[in-house]
Symmetry: C2
Amino acid sequence: MKNNQITTYLAEQKARVDNALKEYFADGNPLFRIMHYSVDRGKRIRPILAIASFEACGGEDFARIMPIACGLELIHTYSLIHDDLPSMDNDDLRRGKPSAHKKFGEAMAILSGDGLCAYAFELFTQGNDLMEEKYVVVQSLSEVIGPDGIVYGQVLDITEQVRIPHSLRLIHFNKTAKFIAVSLKCGAIMAQASQKLVDALFSAGVYLGMLFQYTDDILDIVGKKSTLGKTPGKDSTAGKLTAPGLYGLDGARFRAQRYAQIAQNRFASLGERFDVLSDIVTFVLKRTY
Amino acid sequence: MKNNQITTYLAEQKARVDNALKEYFADGNPLFRIMHYSVDRGKRIRPILAIASFEACGGEDFARIMPIACGLELIHTYSLIHDDLPSMDNDDLRRGKPSAHKKFGEAMAILSGDGLCAYAFELFTQGNDLMEEKYVVVQSLSEVIGPDGIVYGQVLDITEQVRIPHSLRLIHFNKTAKFIAVSLKCGAIMAQASQKLVDALFSAGVYLGMLFQYTDDILDIVGKKSTLGKTPGKDSTAGKLTAPGLYGLDGARFRAQRYAQIAQNRFASLGERFDVLSDIVTFVLKRTY
């Protein structure tokens, strides 16, 4: 796929996700509007990965994957809202607008995050078809978003003092990589792919996830506020352990390329249908936002 | 059951839950210890309700209900941690000791709550047996703990200005009653009870839940700090909408008794096996902590 082709593909998938998300927030009490404020305007990388994986694994009925894909975005948004809080990263800007606590105050920000997390599980368990598949989705997801995953990664991110490669890997793996990997896994599960393929996609996804966090760290230094939609330079000035902080900008870029290469080799080994995932890897490697 | 019999029953069940919870926090990274600090020392009402319901519905294999019961306690604890935060109720004392944010700081308190919520879903989906039942457990629970349940109840609790019975019912129903009711429901689901019985237990449980919140509101005025393990008088001085605030202490007690009566009539209609739930209603009505 050419560069403009993958850009078009991502834009199309993002539009599908945005439309579905809009539906999920069309009704409901006032809290839903507050939750939707933070959900609005995201890159939708995780849902797109779930959809791409679903389709590459032979999944056809779009209605099967959409609630799962959107639930992933809600979990991601919830983690951003909580990470942005004054007691954590204290970020006032997110997705090009005031972060939740700046807009609604701390209490409502915390609660809207909590609400999004629970609402995601509602989406994961919508309807009574494919119960076993969705059970495994919940099982897989709860493992990677909690105290052995995203939450632990955030704890390390704000507390880790030891500046060694092992610490960096532990933060990136827990905070970002597992969740990216499980997004691919969920797509495969919902397409009723073989256990072998499900595992292979998770495993390749970890490298894509590490790449994603490396480019995030790099953009924190070289990115522009207007394109990022958040304040660059926060991590480095906060003294956080980041890839460029540990390896320098060139070292981080070199390692990012290596992660991209491994991920692409893994996807290539699964067959042509998975080329779209390799193209997404290239896109992530070159991304400017 | 005599008064001392139900007290013994509750103590025995609490010991079983405490032991199981200890197991679930025996290993793991440092975050698990922080999470367990807040889990430690609770009344375990919700897990006991799930167990009692499970056994009354004919459930025998204790291993089936225990992870679900403990998961309920983790969700409850997570909601307490977040409610206690300075930006919300600002409570320094919980379960007879400093609340999570006093002990570990705000960031770790928020994250330990987030971790407990996700860990609960891990417990709900432990193992690959009874997947359909546990799928329905997740489905039922995610509905009542999120933006149409506990989280919405807390939003109303800190924002509601209109002091009318409808507002009070809305807060109590969402914040407390649905979750108590779903605890009974989960027990019935895991015992593979009929849909009719599952629904009947949820419906009766709503009255028990309303009673529970009424006695909570009353204890906020007449309770002692040493027995409550939290600071009494917080709700009334914060100007919150409470049952005694709206109806006076006697009016609240009268209505609490009415909720108890309705719940007991419902349980009685289900047969003698459910007498234990009626006894728990009496216990909740008379509780001093």
